[in-house]
């Protein structure tokens, strides 16, 4: 694939040749004509057990300008359907829940993990970035991002700068991004730790909520030798505002049996047990260290990365990602991919809650969530990608991956009958993506 970079190299060589020969070079505008690069894909992400399904169209469109400047536009359209764990625990009897809208109810059969099946959304995300050299060794990038789904709006700006040193063998980079997100939950945002109410009763709901996120990333990239390049980044992410998931609840349980306390629904219907809406702290600070190495081995490329994340919710995580690109001739390649992930639970992760109305019971914690993504779990991804270059020089690839999460509830949180049930909503998902990259 030729790029404007190749062309500018050609132009420079031509100019140098002309200088040597003492002639005047021809105008270079023909060699640096703008061009478009389209990177497009179709993605299917599907979880088993009628959980989340996402069909997604994505495109990154790059418009080249003279002097190595370019504009990158990103477009994503996601269509999401399926059910998602509500946070309530399994029971040996059927359970009824009020829908998030407050307009109806749904029943979860005995023994099944409570899933809220009202999840349906379309998400549109747009981004635009302008990148240009600054001086001989600098590269500056500034951008903005926007996304919208039914109950969520995101607006962000970001800027990055990278500077080369040491014959371009060392690159130092720094970036900052600000996001302003707003949530307008279906039925209104519930008062934290308030009870799920009967159908039609929205007295514990209020309007929309906001959160602000600041991300700072600094990094170093180093060429070690002609076949090895490494990178190390530190990033800080600070979130402030409404960090709850407005649709997640926790079951209130008997302190001996661990079963959900029963409740008598109203005439219009309502929850069969006592469920409280979750509450998280309104700030979160995350620190991450990310390292990556790429090593060329006679045509094959090994790509290894490791990330450590720690935050003030007491979640620690480790991620190891391995990719091995294996060429099949000069036009095709296979790329196996393995990813291992493990995280510890947030300090306020709870499987269930004590009865707040029991004078002899344990006090209700200030913060509590049973969102499985804040729990203690391990995840593995295994996949294979096949890529090829088409006859007209464009690139295509297909990849198929499996993702599996298996969680563990801390032993000191298991009460009575909960010990007999599988309490963590393990996740199995398939990721299928077809990508096509072409120039115009």
């Amino acid at each position: 694939m030729t790029s404007s970079k190749d062309r500018s190299v050609t132009a420079t060589l031509a100019a140098a040749t002309c200088t040597l020969l003492g002639t005047i070079p021809a105008p270079v505008d023909a060699q640096e004509e703008p061009k478009w690069d389209f990177n497009t894909s179709v993605l299917y992400y599907g979880e088993d057990g009628s959980r989340v399904q996402d069909a997604s169209l994505k495109a990154l469109i790059r418009r080249m300008f003279v002097d190595d400047r370019y504009l990158t536009l990103g477009v994503t359209v996601d269509t999401l359907t399926g059910a998602t764990p509500s946070g309530a625990i399994r029971q040996d009897v059927a359970q009824t829940f009020t829908r998030p809208s407050g307009n109806g109810s749904y029943v979860v059969p005995a023994g099944e993990h409570p899933l809220d099946d009202t999840f349906k959304d379309t998400r549109v995300a747009l981004s635009a970035n302008w990148t240009q050299p600054m001086g001989r060794a600098g590269l500056f990038d500034v951008g903005t991002s926007f996304s919208k789904e039914y109950d969520y709006t995101h607006l962000g700006v970001n800027a990055k700068y990278a500077h080369d040193f040491n014959k371009r063998n060392t690159t130092l980079s720094g970036g900052i991004s600000f996001s302003k997100d707003s949530l307008d939950p279906v039925g209104g945002s519930p008062q934290p730790l308030s009870e799920m109410l009967d159908v039609g009763d929205i007295s514990n709901r209020s309007g929309s909520e906001d959160k602000d996120i600041i991300d700072v990333v600094v990094g170093i990239t180093q060429v070690i030798n002609p076949k090895l390049i490494v990178q190390a980044n530190y990033s800080l992410s600070q979130s402030d505002g409404y960090l709850n998931n407005p649709y997640k609840v926790l079951s209130v349980v008997d302190p001996i049996t661990g079963d959900t306390l029963a409740r008598t629904p109203g005439i219009e219907g309502g929850p069969s047990g006592i469920f409280l809406f979750e509450n998280r702290p309104d700030t979160r600070t995350q620190h991450s260290i990310y390292t990556q190495a790429k090593y060329y081995m006679g045509g094959k490329v090994l790509d290894v990365s490791y990330r450590y994340m720690t935050d003030d919710w007491e979640i620690d995580s480790h991620t190891v990602d391995l990719r091995y690109r294996w060429p099949l001739g000069s036009e095709k390649y296979l790329e196996p991919h393995l990813r291992f992930y493990t995280q510890s639970e947030a300090e306020f992760y709870r499987l269930s809650l004590p009865d707040p109305n029991d004078p002899d019971g344990a006090p209700l914690p200030a913060y509590a969530s049973s969102d499985y993504r804040l729990g203690n779990f391990d995840a593995i991804t295994a996949g294979l990608k096949y890529g090829w270059t088409t006859r007209n020089g464009n690139e295509m690839s297909v990849r198929l991956e499996w993702y599996r999460q298996t969680g563990t509830i801390p032993a000191d949180q298991i009460i009575g009958n909960q010990a007999n049930r599988d309490n963590y909503p393990d996740l199995n998902a398939v990721i299928a993506q077809f990508s096509y990259r072409f120039d115009l």
């Binding site: 789904e149 969520y152 030798n225 947030a346």
Partner: protein
């Protein structure tokens, strides 16, 4: 704070060792190959970042932390 000092120390140590590493401009043929770029496929990388941001409590590292979704 301690982590910040440790990190600054690591970066300085890494930088002081950098001057003895690296390649001459004419040794860059392999490093210039598309498959040797740190992010080979930006669209796939963005896809993965978004999936794992939605399903796990960690995000970012390679770049900004992502976000911009309710992600149930």
């Amino acid at each position: 704070m301690k982590k910040g000092i440790l990190l600054a120390g690591l970066v300085m140590a890494a930088c002081s060792g950098c001057s003895s590493m690296g390649v001459e401009p004419w040794e860059r043929d392999v490093l210039a190959r598309e498959e040797m770029q740190l992010t080979t496929d930006p669209l796939e990388a963005a896809t993965d970042d978004h999936i794992y941001f939605s399903k796990e409590a960690s995000s970012g590292g390679r770049g900004f932390g992502g976000g911009g979704c309710g992600c149930n």
